[in-house]
């Protein structure tokens, strides 16, 4: 399977994920393409089809979409691989983030700190919206998915105490309704 049999699988996972952890600017999705290249083309850990399957699983399983790395580790070396890949992907960026948060916190209250925050926060918000579009684009979602997401966002804005489980449940029901209508021949 592997082209680098001289390298222990754990070491291979670490050398792939640690550098990617530190360049994932803007979040996990920014390194999905390089992860695919490493896992499928370079290390031949899995076929392109298997990769897409893993991607789909990572999207629906609990946790961030970057659990993709965990699943690759699992494919490569079982449970040990899953844990090593998770740590390699999340620890380096987390240490960096902690260091930045510490520095950020130290200067809280200064005028330039407030300006930096006022200047950067809108970019974070813009990226939040852009992320929603990116997820739908990757999942090739239709108007129903869009409508549902916007409905959920508006519901939570209108009624912040509405429980997300109820809204996620509505999502499942609506999509099954669509499936049923299509099955009955009402939709094509």
């Amino acid at each position: 399977m592997r082209d680098d049999s001289s390298l222990s699988p754990y070491l291979a996972l670490i050398t792939v994920f640690v550098p990617l952890s530190l360049v994932a600017i803007g979040g996990g999705p920014s390194i999905f393409a390089p992860i695919q290249k490493e896992a499928v083309d370079i290390h031949k850990w899995m076929s392109a089809r298997e990769f897409i399957e893993i991607f789909a699983v990572a999207r629906v399983a609990p946790g961030p979409g970057s659990m993709l790395g965990t699943l690759i580790g699992w494919k490569v070396a079982g449970w040990g691989g899953a844990i090593v890949a998770t740590l390699a992907l999340f620890i380096p960026s987390s240490i960096l983030c902690l260091a930045v948060a510490k520095v950020w916190n130290r200067y809280r209250g200064r005028e330039w700190h407030a300006a930096l925050e006022m200047g950067l926060a809108p970019i974070g918000t813009g990226l939040m919206f852009a992320g929603a579009i990116a997820i739908f684009r990757m999942a090739e979602a239709g108007p129903l998915a869009w409508g549902l997401a916007i409905f959920v966002a508006l519901m939570l804005t209108w009624r912040p105490r509405a429980h997300p489980f109820a809204l996620l449940g509505i999502g499942a029901v609506v999509f099954n309704l669509q499936l049923w209508l299509a099955h009955m021949g009402y939709l094509r």
Binding site: G26, A114, E117, A130, N176
Partner: protein, 195 residues
């Protein structure tokens, strides 16, 4: 819905309590939307953090390399309980999903032929995106309260460039960030920037 004022914040929780809240967020975050979940629990339910503090954490989490959710988790843990809080939060949030996603992958082989299950999964995932859009709305309301035009322009420009035009994120942020910060930089004698 008004944001909790600083004096209304609850006292910081024990490390164990902080960890258990984040652990359950991780376990139940089917379909994603974790940032929305964390916001709901940490700001609204337990009042361990102000809305403003949380939103500035979101910006930081997205600009620092790494998964946004784990970065946000580190920031939130750090603000609530210092470095140990950050460590605890990260491990608590990730331990459940690390194990569960492998089980889901194993299960996937057996259930992939059932369309009803696919419909459930797609529906939940679509609704979960709404949790994050909701956070975008919270951020937009905060920008409105700044009563300045530059932050709003920066937000829309970032969204259009990255989301609509699909331009690469790093150069977009590198160009917009300095402009956006410069536009709100405190001028000499011109009064303080109020965040």
């Amino acid at each position: 819905m008004a944001d909790p004022a600083p004096e209304e914040l609850a006292p910081p929780p024990s490390l164990f309590k902080l960890g258990s809240v984040l652990f359950w967020i991780g376990v139940f975050s089917f379909g994603g939307g974790l940032s929305g979940w964390i916001h709901r629990q940490v700001v609204h339910r337990y009042r361990w953090m102000t809305n403003d503090d949380f939103l500035s954490g979101i910006a930081l989490a997205q600009i620092v390399p790494g998964a946004n959710v784990t970065n946000l988790c580190v920031y939130v843990g750090y603000r609530i309980r210092g470095a140990w809080g950050a460590t605890m939060s990260l491990f608590a949030l990730m331990s459940g999903p690390t194990i569960l996603c492998v089980f889901v992958a194993i299960l996937y082989h057996y259930v992939q032929d059932y369309p009803v299950l696919h419909a459930c999964v797609d529906g939940v995932a679509a609704a979960a995106v709404g949790l994050n859009i909701r956070l975008g709305i919270v951020g937009t309301q905060r920008i409105q309260r700044m009563r300045r035009i530059a932050p709003m322009i920066a937000m829309v420009a970032t969204f259009v460039a990255v989301g609509v035009m699909e331009w690469p994120l790093v150069p977009v942020v590198l160009i917009i960030a300095p402009l956006s910060v410069a536009a709100v930089w405190p001028r000499k004698g011109g009064g303080a920037a109020h965040a």
